[in-house]
């Protein structure tokens, strides 16, 4: 058992919840706003409004939070050792990206008990692109003894807008990290917590979800209904854009994006149509980004003021 201290708190990083708490502690010490996950279905932390929208414009931002993420096409009916349609990311965004971001990241690994003298940690080129968000960045997937544990990105463009200053994003794959720390083979076997009432595993909480949601995502989701919803949310988003409300409009981008992912998992969209759907979501995201920028500008970019 590895115990990590932050201030008065002690975290057992060999439990899943202890690992999360240790990361929260580390990034709190780095002056981050500790946020909560966005309460909509998203494919990654990048879709959190406090990442996507905060990457736009000149205002500085430092935040960290867990994000539950859904990738319907990655479901494996609960049978795969480390792939599922639902997983968690630990999302950290720092804007402007500090010069020592790589070192901070390595320090965070040390803080959760990963010794860089023992483990082969590698920054392997990965040029991230979020086609539905009109966003791209350069960076790496970070490998821990061959396993991708983090997506490390310097955002260059978001919603079609140049990022200036640049936001650095760290998206930790916390299940994978936990597999190492707990020396387990399967995500399902990870210990979520252990205490006076016994042990609860990741599988105890999510195994049934994986099986049922895989069935739904791959085999049962009503594609006609989904196509209809996609069109409706797109219309609703356009209405919000016309009403100059970028935040509700962004929620509708997220909804459309998730519906697209479901249709994709159902293989309901042909190759040529696929590109069309991606463009439709991207088109919305771009307009949201522009509208958000304008709204912040109107407010005088409040976060530029040091309080």
């Amino acid at each position: 058992m590895t115990w990590i201290f932050y201030g008065a708190t002690m975290h057992n990083v060999t439990t899943f919840q202890g690992l999360i708490a240790a990361l929260e502690g580390f990034w709190q010490n780095q002056g981050c706003v500790i946020l909560q996950p966005v309460d909509l279905e998203v494919g990654a932390g990048t879709f959190h409004p406090d990442t996507f929208l905060r990457a736009i414009g000149p205002e500085p931002w430092r935040a960290a939070h867990v994000q539950s993420s859904r990738r319907p096409a990655d479901g494996r009916y609960g049978e795969h050792p480390n792939r599922g349609q639902h997983f968690f990311q630990y999302q950290v965004v720092l804007k402007p990206s500090p010069a020592n971001l790589q070192q901070l990241y390595l320090d965070s690994l040390a803080a959760i008990g990963i010794d860089p003298n023992k483990h082969d940690i590698r920054f392997v080129e990965d040029n991230w692109e979020g086609p539905t968000l009109g966003a791209w960045g350069l960076g790496w997937e970070v490998w821990l003894d061959g396993m991708e544990i983090t997506q490390f990105t310097y955002f260059q463009q978001v919603g079609g807008l140049e990022c200036k200053p640049v936001m650095g994003e760290l998206a930790y794959g916390i299940e994978r990290i936990a597999l190492y720390l707990q020396n387990k083979q399967r995500t399902q076997d990870l210990i979520w917590t252990t205490g006076q009432y016994g042990t609860v595993t990741y599988g105890d909480i999510y195994q049934q979800t994986e099986v049922e949601m895989s069935k739904y995502n791959f085999d049962l989701a009503d594609t006609n209904m989904l196509f209809k919803h996609f069109d409706e949310w797109e219309q609703e988003c356009n209405k919000m854009l016309q009403t100059k409300l970028p935040l509700p409009a962004f929620e509708m981008v997220l909804k459309s994006s998730h519906i697209f992912n479901l249709l994709d998992a159902r293989k309901a969209i042909s190759v040529t149509e696929r590109q069309q759907y991606i463009l439709r979501v991207r088109n919305l995201a771009r307009q949201v980004a522009e509208l958000y920028y304008a709204s912040r500008e109107q407010l005088g970019f409040p976060l530029l003021q040091n309080k």
């Binding site: 050792p81 010069a99 023992k118 590698r122 396993m147 200053p165 640049v166 597999l179 190492y180």
Partner: protein, 688 residues
């Protein structure tokens, strides 16, 4: 400082893209040299070295002179006629030019060229110190560096491959005073991120490599590559195995480590039930590890990983990699098992939903066309028509399997495995796999004719389709690799040893399209003949190529057979004379522009003995070579025709063709026409 010294620059960065690493460094070195030469600063050009590792690009330029030589500045001013007025006073233009040159009018010279006279200024200025010029040169090289995608970081405006952290710039023992991309140049570097995170002072450029190697960084790309290859060879020998380490993978791995440490790891034997190509793809492509094969070329449940660390506990690194490999292979096994749930043939109707090309229909439409054309060829080849049709029907079905979706490079290979699993015949399975061959210039052609039929039909269908909608390669641009595909068709048709006329194949392929497409033969045939020319760039001289081209044959095999015969014929003593005689005939006929083809030879008007003999010989030869030509026995035909030399020679020695009497003249021309068309049945010998 002495008048020359070594110059070293190292740019310390965050991890650079491994694929571009070697090129970035050589490109940087090339640009630096180019700009130094532009500034007439000399150095030891044959001793320039570049270095590249994940966290640094460096160039060492030995014996760089410290002082730029005197620079000659020359400028041309206005034309003399515009420099002075009629009264000899200087014009505004002349005075202005002198002012720009910072001199007096009297100091200007007159330059005379064949186009006129001009005012001319030339002077010499002292050269600058190299150390003063270096920062601009470096900055220019970094901006011009060929980088696929640049990025910005923090608040900066500058963009580079990855963020820059330090700049080591030494000219001899001196730091070059410079600030580039917001970083001040200094005399230190950093070692391996984990083993030696402290700064390392480099006292002079020649200490660079030694100091870094001491700090667990091998900066030389080639040296690091060799070290990896050696370690892999050692482990393979220990395991009595051979490593599947292609040059591309080796370069990639070299670009991922500063200090390679090879480790051996294993995976569960159970995965070996999955076709080895899938496992190898997962090991190489996803994990950038190296598979090991037995002496029987079977995959072993073992792989080599190249870490970037002398771990305090190598077993941890091995365990971690095994865990990931397990998951990767479990993925491959999942794709394989789930693919087996569906019969390969069941995917075919769904190919209707896969667009091949917007204007050319779906992949399903394409395989229907391939099937027809391949069946036509199979009949003519006398091979297994039913198997050909079945394989053509199934040849693209694996595009809809999970495995090929994940590993596109396994198309064809998976089709074979799944076909066998679904009890398709061995020929069908093999034809599905091989119809993608040849994939590149030196790849093997299909080994069975059934596969060749499909391979050719597929490409011919693509060629006529793409040409009909105007997707014709121009210059460098050939996004659909149509040149390569045409070349493959020519090569396979030649190897098949059965005559297929390109014109006929193209016309059949065009007719297979519904809705109808425009017949692109007018562009496509010349395009293929151009490919044929490059195909025979070595085997045929331009003259031989032209001689065959003149016969208008569009069958690659026929072309090939004629070529072999002519090359053989050219070695015979009769060749030169016969060519000369043909040239004479061709010259005479070509001058008579009004001449119609196929003039009739009137035997009654053959006045001289020489004419009669020549005519009789031509008739004999016509009968003699017909069966030879039917069997494409061009060598024998040419041999037979070479005996025409004597009657032709005596005809020219004794008979005047261009006589006054037009009947007589035309009859003789008709005789020559007959002679020429006889030769033309093999080649235009006059061009040899």
């Amino acid at each position: 400082m002495s008048n020359q010294a070594d110059f070293l620059i190292e740019i310390g960065t965050e991890e650079l893209p491994p694929k571009d690493l070697a090129n970035l460094a050589t490109n940087f070195a090339t640009l630096l040299q180019e700009y130094l030469i532009e500034n007439s600063i000399s150095f030891a050009q044959d001793q320039v070295k570049s270095f590249a590792s994940p966290r640094r690009l460096a160039v060492l330029i030995p014996n760089l002179v410290s002082q730029q030589p005197e620079q000659v500045i020359s400028k041309r001013g206005p034309a003399l006629s515009a420099a002075y007025n009629a009264d000899g006073t200087p014009t505004k233009a002349a005075l202005g030019f002198a002012q720009v040159c910072n001199t007096e009018l009297a100091q200007l010279r007159i330059q005379e060229t064949d186009k006129g006279k001009w005012l001319f200024f030339s002077s010499t200025v002292a050269g600058k110190e190299t150390i003063e010029l270096l920062p601009k040169i470096i900055e220019k090289a970094l901006l011009q560096l060929h980088v696929k995608k640049r990025m910005r970081w923090c608040n900066g405006d500058f963009a580079f491959v990855r963020p820059i952290h330090w700049l080591l710039m030494l000219f001899g023992k001196d730091v070059v005073p410079a600030e580039i991309f917001g970083i001040k140049a200094d005399n230190y570097t950093y070692g391996h991120r984990i083993h030696h995170p402290q700064a390392i002072v480099i006292a002079s450029p020649d200490k660079y490599v030694e100091k870094l190697e001491h700090a667990k960084v091998i900066p030389c790309f080639t040296k690091r590559k060799l070290k990896i290859a050696e370690q892999v060879a050692k482990i393979s020998a220990e395991q009595q195995a051979s490593a599947d380490l292609d040059p591309e993978l080796l370069d990639l791995i070299t670009g991922l480590v500063e200090y390679p440490v090879a480790l051996t790891a294993t995976f569960a034997n159970d995965f070996l039930r999955v076709p080895k190509e899938c496992l190898i793809s997962a090991i190489k492509k996803h994990q950038k590890c190296i598979p090991l094969l037995s002496a029987e070329n079977k995959l072993l449940a073992m792989f080599i990983l190249i870490s970037n660390l002398e771990s305090t506990d190598p077993q941890t690194v091995i365990n971690g990699n095994e865990l990931v490999m397990h998951a990767r292979l479990a993925d491959a096994a999942f794709y394989y098992d789930s693919d087996l749930q569906t019969n390969l043939a069941a995917h075919v109707p769904a190919l209707q939903n896969v667009v091949y090309q917007k204007q050319l229909g779906s992949v399903y439409d394409k395989i229907m066309r391939i099937e027809k054309l391949a069946a036509f060829m199979a009949k003519k080849l006398n091979c297994d028509v039913d198997s050909t049709k079945r394989a053509a029907y199934l040849c693209k079905a694996d595009l809809l399997t999970n495995m090929v979706y994940e590993f596109p490079e396994l198309q064809g290979v998976m089709g074979k495995y799944y076909a066998l699993y679904n009890n398709e015949s061995a020929i069908v399975a093999q034809a599905i796999e091989e119809h993608y061959q040849p994939r590149f210039a030196n790849d093997n052609s299909p080994t069975i004719p059934e596969a060749s039929c499909i391979a050719i039909a597929d490409r011919v269908d693509t060629l006529v389709g793409m040409f009909s909608i105007g997707n014709i390669p121009t210059g460098e641009k050939d996004p659909y690799a149509l040149r390569r595909q045409a070349l493959a068709v020519i090569r396979m048709l030649t190897e098949l040893k059965v005559n297929f006329d390109l014109k006929e194949l193209f016309s059949l392929a065009v007719n297979n399209y519904a809705p109808a497409i425009k017949d692109p033969s007018n562009e496509l045939i010349p395009f293929c003949l151009e490919r044929l020319k490059s195909f025979y760039a070595e085997a045929a001289t331009p003259q031989v190529f032209a001689a065959i081209l003149a016969t208008n044959t569009t069958s690659p095999l026929d072309f090939h057979q004629r070529l072999l015969a002519i090359n053989e014929f050219l070695a015979s003593p009769a060749a030169l004379n016969l060519a000369a005689a043909n040239k004479r005939v061709a010259n005479i006929l070509n001058k008579e522009t009004d001449l119609t083809d196929n003039l009739f030879v009137d035997v009654a008007k053959l006045e001289t003995k020489e004419e009669q003999v020549l005519y009789a010989t031509i008739q004999n030869k016509e009968a003699e070579i017909s069966p030879l030509l039917n069997n494409a026995n061009y060598a024998a035909a040419l041999h037979s025709l070479s005996t025409l030399q004597a009657p032709v020679d005596s005809f020219f020695n004794n008979v005047m063709v261009m006589v006054e009497d037009s009947d007589l003249r035309n009859n003789r021309l008709a005789l020559l026409q007959r002679l020429r068309s006889l030769f033309m049945r093999v080649a235009d010998v006059s061009l040899l």
